[in-house]
Amino acid sequence: MMDMTEVLLEAATLMGVGMIAVFSFLSLLIVAVMGLAKLAPPLADIPEPSQALPTSPQPANNATVVAAITAAVQQYRKAQ
């Protein structure tokens, strides 16, 4: 029975030390991640869609203009 209480005590210590270790390690990681957010400009490489916007209408516009011109040319040739 003496042995039993000894092992139980050991297990309880392990429980305490383990939880403290896990908590302090992950707390440290929290600090690290928060620092990371400060270091790396959070949105540095995200605004791709805003770059894509002005460029995309251009070819679309061109296409409609080209279509309109071809249609006009064809009509003109038919009329002749």
Binding site: V7, L8, L14, A21, L29, V33
Partner: protein
């Protein structure tokens, strides 16, 4: 005539021992759970089949020179298979939700209380005659509460190889049972108002943060807990391959082909440990019971921690997400989402629960490292 008798003496029928038949039945039960009930089929199917193969008389799968002997020897005794799986899991994990809200790491830490409380419980079980768990055994059993298959197998192979079969089967069975075990605990510990809390949308996370994150995690592990570096290191390697964007081929292989191949062998090797003399003991019953307790306590402590954080933040955190702190990715997060939707059909908690969920993976790897360095040495 003599030939016939010799042939008869070589048949399975003449050589079956009762224990082998029981273990084959256990294997078939696992196959049933995998195929009909769809419980973690990717693992329970090879484990179940491995159990059947391992208990065939005269086939010698588990003897030196047998197939399962070598698979176990090469992959699990060395710890290689669980670590390769962990690399694949790293490649499958998106830390975005955690980086956006790093406080969620506290939930992943709180849920690990299930592990350490179970360790105490396993030692307490020694008071009952028939149980004789050493501190190393108890640690290997307790890691079931981490709800992380590869971590459990890795730790069991290092601390208590004799109990590995029972521990792995318990870990994967309870992971499949997460949708049944967790909701009652979550509901008992929270009020309806708390379950209805809606959380703010997470900020977008830049690619640079996602790339630096695994390196930072590894750096901290190297500095403070080198015993956890096998697990955390492989996990971070997988994650870096995913987020760096320059090795898509490697990342895809780690996420698909490699993890699938290793899963087949891991399952078979675990199944090979389901032999009658190792599995048909009262200790197995104890392990199954302790595993359920570990899951329950982990869920409860995660929810309670989330409740505390919710109070401190002035009601900005839904306490349900604490339940996702017991890894079991992504099942636990889905359960959180489901329970949240039951209280408020417009409240989608999935993304918020992914934070504590992946924090739980890190938390159980750290807990495994702590146990290894305190008990394994």
């Amino acid at each position: 005539m003599e030939g016939l008798i010799k042939l008869w003496s070589e048949t399975g029928l003449a050589n079956f021992e009762f224990g082998q038949l029981v273990m084959m039945a256990v294997g078939l039960l696992l196959l049933y759970l995998a195929i009909v009930r769809k419980f973690e089929p990717l693992l329970l199917l090879p484990i179940g089949f491995g159990a059947v193969l391992a208990n065939i008389p005269n086939a010698g799968f588990n003897d030196e020179g047998g197939l399962l002997y070598y698979i176990y020897h090469v992959g699990i005794e060395t710890g290689v298979f669980p670590l390769l799986i962990f690399m694949g899991v790293g490649a499958l994990t998106d830390f975005g939700a955690l980086i956006a809200n790093p406080r969620m790491l506290l939930l992943g830490a709180a849920a690990q209380f299930g592990i350490f409380a179970t360790l105490f419980g396993a030692i307490l079980l020694n008071a009952i005659p028939g149980f004789d768990f050493s501190l190393a055994d108890a640690s290997a059993i307790a890691i079931i509460g981490g709800a992380d298959g590869p971590t459990a197998i890795f730790l069991a192979s290092k601390l208590a190889p004799d109990l590995l079969g029972a521990i792995a089967v318990a870990a994967y069975s309870y992971m499949a049972l997460v949708p049944i075990i967790q909701p009652p605990i979550m509901k008992a510990l929270t009020t309806k108002e708390e379950r209805e809390i809606q959380m703010e949308q997470l900020r977008p996370v830049s690619m640079r943060e996602k790339i630096i994150f695994p390196i930072a995690v590894l750096g901290l592990t190297i500095l403070f807990l080198p015993a956890a570096t096998p697990l955390v290191g492989m996990f971070c390697l997988g994650n870096l391959m995913r987020e760096s964007g320059v090795v898509d081929r490697l990342s895809k292989t780690a996420q698909n082909e490699l993890i699938n191949i290793v899963t087949i062998f891991l399952g078979l090797a675990v199944g090979s440990k389901l032999s009658a003399d190792k599995f048909l003991t009262v200790e197995t019953l104890g392990i199954l019971g302790l595993g359920a307790v570990a899951f329950g306590i982990g869920t409860a402590s995660g929810v309670l921690m989330a409740k505390l954080m919710s109070r401190l933040s002035g009601g900005k955190i839904n306490p349900l997400i604490g339940a996702a702190g017991v890894s079991a990715v992504p099942m636990a997060a889905r359960v959180v989402n489901k329970v949240g939707l039951e209280s408020n059909p417009h409240n989608f908690l999935l993304m918020h629960a992914m934070g504590p969920n992946v924090a739980g993976v890190l938390g159980s790897a750290v807990a495994a490292g702590v146990l290894l360095s305190l008990v394994g040495g």
